[in-house]
Amino acid sequence: MGAACDTTTHGGYPMNSGTAEPAIGDFLGGIHSKGTGFRSLINRILTVLCVGLSLLTLVPLFSIIFLVVKNGWPLLSWQTFVELPPAAGMVGGGFANAVVGTLVMVGLGLAISAPVGILAAIYINEYAPNARLSHAVRLVAKLLTGIPSIICGVFAFAVIVSTTGTFSAYAGAVALSVLMLPTILLTAEQALLSVQSSFREASYGLGATKFQTITRIVLPDALPAIMTGVMLAVARAAGETAPLIFTALFSQFWAQSLNEPTASLSVLIFNFSTVPFPHQIAMAWTASLVLVAFVTVANVLAQWVFSKKY
């Protein structure tokens, strides 16, 4: 081993062993006498520090999960899902209208953002990957992910609430669709990108048109990964409060139409967590438990769909 090392490191040059031996000896000796103990001590300290800090992050997450389950569990029952929220200071009730409101608004938002996001992803990946518009779409999508979620709410307020004059489920859905759009678009682009180009070539080789190739070959192959993005977007939108707080507002009652203030789980948590009534606060914890459970399931499901394909 030593001989092999010598020949490779010295590149076959004849080495004068008389001068080389002491040089290597000095080098090793230098490490041993001056540094090794100190250096490996530093090394060990930094390792412990790094691992310690990393494991430290487990603490807050466990604290959150533990408290949400512990405080949310007592009120979790069938009643919670079928009854309306209690008025201030009252006990009993549930948050049925908030669950329905969240589902309706996320669903409506998805109905707007999913087609736009996926079609735009098809354009920038299948039709014109290097067009100026495609570069612009990619940049804008990245910037949209960085825009604060409350700005989506401000936008929907300006566009819909001010013109119709009422807080509504529509406005909430529009705000959520802006929020979901970049997630869906960027994951759909990645999904399309991961479809092997030989699939496309084979399809063209068999005489298929571009449209046929995209709809029959590329989209079916990319579908699981696209669904992953859709589910991540749904999970994120379901938990968002800021875009809904002044677009859909909140309601203690069942909404009769989509054009009136609508309750949602996240706004219910916000409203109930700042009141001085223990029962309402307990209900905020229960709503948090439902929300966290939903978001976790959606995330795990997304990962699972993704891993099934790849």
Partner: protein
């Protein structure tokens, strides 16, 4: 010539063009959305912009019933809460990113930590707020009382201590930006070619000499980008901050005093605002958009430059 068979085929051959146009419209729509957001907000803010001008930025009064509006304290609150959050999150995020890209502990442990960090990103903001009210506020109150008693003469530790304070909001913010910081830093570290690490080891470097001397400097621009993007996230974070920071426009140096952010201001006042207050809130929203867009643009630019550079090393 025009047999029915061929005409359907022609329709089929022409359809893709329609589909292409549809996709183009969707793409153009996405680009337009960003412009629409900015124009719509600027338009709604116009009465306030023309009335207050740039004084809006430096004025400290927010008195809706006297129609006096200024967001100076909220801009300071936005910047200081994100900066303090970064102070806590940066060492943690970097440590986790290094932890995930090294083999200190077996893979299952690392995967667990990674999953935990990803879970932190999935928890809704409002749940962080609820948790903060019942966990972080009492802790900060205790620490604050202890600190102000001993170091009360230092402006940033000045009493009296409030639970709803700048520090409370910053601590929770730090937790919330940790996933962004970790994910992008980890990618930057993973993009460092293994040959560089091997080279450092071959020269006799210890593991941490290789990390600090070779790997981190190579990944530094990516880590900088991660910091900038996480900072943008912290500045726009709304609900948890609105629930924890106390939403005060009274300026104070103390980290134990209530403060306010632009996003928190919007969350608290939009629902019941009317008249010029709506326009002023729109103005505040516009400032928030400009700040976060600027921060994100810089972050994306750094990220792009980084990618080009590490490609060169390979």
């Amino acid at each position: 010539m025009a047999s029915p068979n061929e005409s359907t085929l022609q329709v089929g051959r022409r359809l893709p063009d329609l589909f292409r146009i549809l996709c183009w419209i969707a793409g153009a729509g996405v680009v337009l959305v960003l412009g629409w957001i900015i124009v719509e907000i600027a338009q709604s803010a116009w009465p306030a912009i023309s009335k207050f001008g740039l004084e809006f930025l430096s004025n400290s009064a927010w008195v809706p019933n006297r129609e006096r509006f200024g967001v100076f304290p909220f801009i300071i609150g936005t910047i200081s809460s994100s900066a303090i959050a970064m102070l806590f999150a940066f060492p943690l995020g970097l440590a986790i990113a290094i932890f995930l890209s090294e083999d200190f502990l077996p893979l299952p442990v690392r995967q667990t930590v990674r999953f935990v960090v990803e879970m932190l990103a999935a928890i809704p903001s409002v749940v962080y707020g609820l948790w903060g009210i019942f966990v972080v506020i009492p802790i900060v109150k205790t620490i604050g009382d202890w600190t102000t008693e001993r170091f009360g003469t230092v402006p940033i530790f000045e009493g009296p201590t409030y639970g709803n304070s700048l520090l409370t909001a910053s601590l929770v913010l730090a937790l919330m930006i940790l996933p962004t910081l970790t994910a992008i830093s980890r990618n930057a570290l993973a993009a460092v070619p293994p040959a560089l690490r091997e080279g450092a080891y071959a020269l006799g470097a210890t593991r941490w000499e290789a990390i600090l001397g070779v790997i981190l400097p190579t990944a530094a621009p990516g880590v900088v980008a991660a910091t900038i993007l996480a900072l943008g996230r912290a500045m726009g974070e709304t609900m948890a901050v609105a629930m924890l920071i106390g939403n005060s426009s009274r300026p104070s140096w103390s980290i134990f005093a209530p403060s306010g952010t632009l996003a928190g201001l919007l969350a608290n006042q939009f629902g019941e605002a009317s008249g010029l207050q709506v326009n002023s809130l729109m103005y505040a929203a516009l400032i928030l958009v400009v700040i976060t867009l600027g921060v994100n643009l810089v972050g994306e630019w750094v990220l792009r430059v980084t990618r080009r550079r590490t490609e060169g090393i390979r």
